[in-house]
Symmetry: C2
Subunit: 380 residues, 2 copies
Amino acid sequence: MTTPADAYAESLIGQPGSRWNLPTPALIVDLDAFEANLAKMAARAKDAGVALRPHAKTHKSAFIARRQIEAGAVGICCAKLGEAEALAEAGIEDILVTSPIASAPVAERAAALAKRGARLAVSVDDPVGVAVLAAAAAAAGVSMTVQVDFDVGTRRTGVADVDHALALAAAIAGAPQLSLRGVQGYGGQWQHAVGADKRMEAARDGMARLSAVVQALRGHGHDCATVTGGGTGTNAADRALGVLNELQPGSYIFMDNQYVDALAADEDGAFQSSLFVQAQVISANTARWVTVDAGLKAFATDASPPRPATGPFAKDGYFFFGDEHGGLMRPEGAAVALGQRVELTAPHCDPTVDRYDRLHFVRGDVLEAIAPIEAARRSQ
Amino acid sequence: MTTPADAYAESLIGQPGSRWNLPTPALIVDLDAFEANLAKMAARAKDAGVALRPHAKTHKSAFIARRQIEAGAVGICCAKLGEAEALAEAGIEDILVTSPIASAPVAERAAALAKRGARLAVSVDDPVGVAVLAAAAAAAGVSMTVQVDFDVGTRRTGVADVDHALALAAAIAGAPQLSLRGVQGYGGQWQHAVGADKRMEAARDGMARLSAVVQALRGHGHDCATVTGGGTGTNAADRALGVLNELQPGSYIFMDNQYVDALAADEDGAFQSSLFVQAQVISANTARWVTVDAGLKAFATDASPPRPATGPFAKDGYFFFGDEHGGLMRPEGAAVALGQRVELTAPHCDPTVDRYDRLHFVRGDVLEAIAPIEAARRSQ
């Protein structure tokens, strides 16, 4: 739906200075930084000879998924089936769901999506998952592609050892409607380690375990064509270690504060922050700070606070001031009036983006495009 | 829009046991607890002889706003004009916007909403706000009702002293299209103080300041009919002090963990937790915990973690496990399998609700109704 604020924003597209007239709070993507990130990761994957399948849980937007595919990605990842439904509906054609399917209703929705022609692969980490998918695929009369999720050390999802991986692969091979895509190993807990050496060390151990399971699966006659995983934090390690032949980074396009901090000292060049929340001053009656219109509802709050990135404000000058508002410390020597704009970098990009319905793409001072975030909150 | 998961949920309405078959994560309202809260606050306001205008920034839903008005509320509050637009569109007729209007585009949208027949009042705390509203109302050819937002100690919004309040009231009186509704004083920082005596003490000081400004406005010939403010935390104090003639509590309908903790020792009876996020186990391969499908994207994260409220799980047994998942400690002596459901109380209700698109109303084990959250994310 188009709200009055959305309609106003749309009327600004292409106009000089339009970036700074948007209704706020607004989610902003700086196109120059975004495109540089897009090209850099695509080139890295190409040089390494591995497939790039970026994780759409970060952006949840068909507009960005298309840009990633145009830049060379083989498709995208989604965390949940609901995201996959939303992005398939918006025209994205090759989707891997990375969280395990574990219940009949979700398996039935997955079969229905495959039946509608989507190129879909899903994950399992339990015999129950194989059983519900086999039943749903049989009932729908459709073939489905399934991968084994293997736990490389996060203890969150995935089978815990080689024996369980072999049992799942055998169950998949024994189900007429299912075919085995390969294996996934994602080290979530390594991604934000500070220092490339720390991330390399953790990834080396996890990838050795993943390599062992791949060899065991192939030794038992399973094709196991795709070995998928990796993230923005371990991207250099993932390519260097050579176990994965498909990479799933997500946050590289936006580079939130968490990743900027974690990757700051990396030798091979950081990606750039491209995601901002724009706010404006709506009250200015106190001496030390002003009040802006973006608070706890405008940002993910599980990481460090948002950081002012424009205007005369200090990087640590923002504080949360309730659900709807933020405080912004007045800068020394600069007057701040009602309507003053500020863009703040996102503490943690995925749950920040999930709080919005639209992305505003800007280049310099101009609003170039607005795109819906089709899969926001499609977490079922 | 109706997603495949939504359609599945809708098919369950009225069925025995349907509460526990919902697609997850799902936002749940327990009707028995909700209705008890609704009735208790309505009775308190009636007994005190004050108007009740609940704050819809908590629920953002026309379904709940209607229930509040049917129970005796005179109308609702909204934090932002975008919320007011959404709820007016959904048929809610008497709305007060509590954050100050500070820019011409927002003033123009407010005038357009008033022009469409909505019974709307807005707030200002700066001469700029009066000027843009006067201009917008004149351009639209509509009369608008405006209140002065007065800072009772939060230092977030509001004029800082009596002189500035008088100047604003004079500016409103001097604008042919504007009429003065009264004054607002909201003590945001007092609401979560632990102990009724602490909240009374803070409110006493703030309400004394508010009373002084009301007397000054009336002394200068301003009608100042409505004195509005208050919240769930200070509700007892707000009624006892007798300065406010209109109360704006929001969270009492849901009672998140913050408020439950703050009000636990109150003598006059707590409200009950009625808001939950339902999740289910989607991975169970580790010895000490299982993994559920609700993580950082499913909850506000600015307060204490979600607390399991159903099943065999410990109250402190949940931990965030990334964007999409949570860990749930395995209970001693009880097996937990894939598909096991758990409902968790919300850490902080307003920003949790804002992350969803639908409320699922349950009574006992039955899903009774589903309602859209029309004003979610309408923060512009």
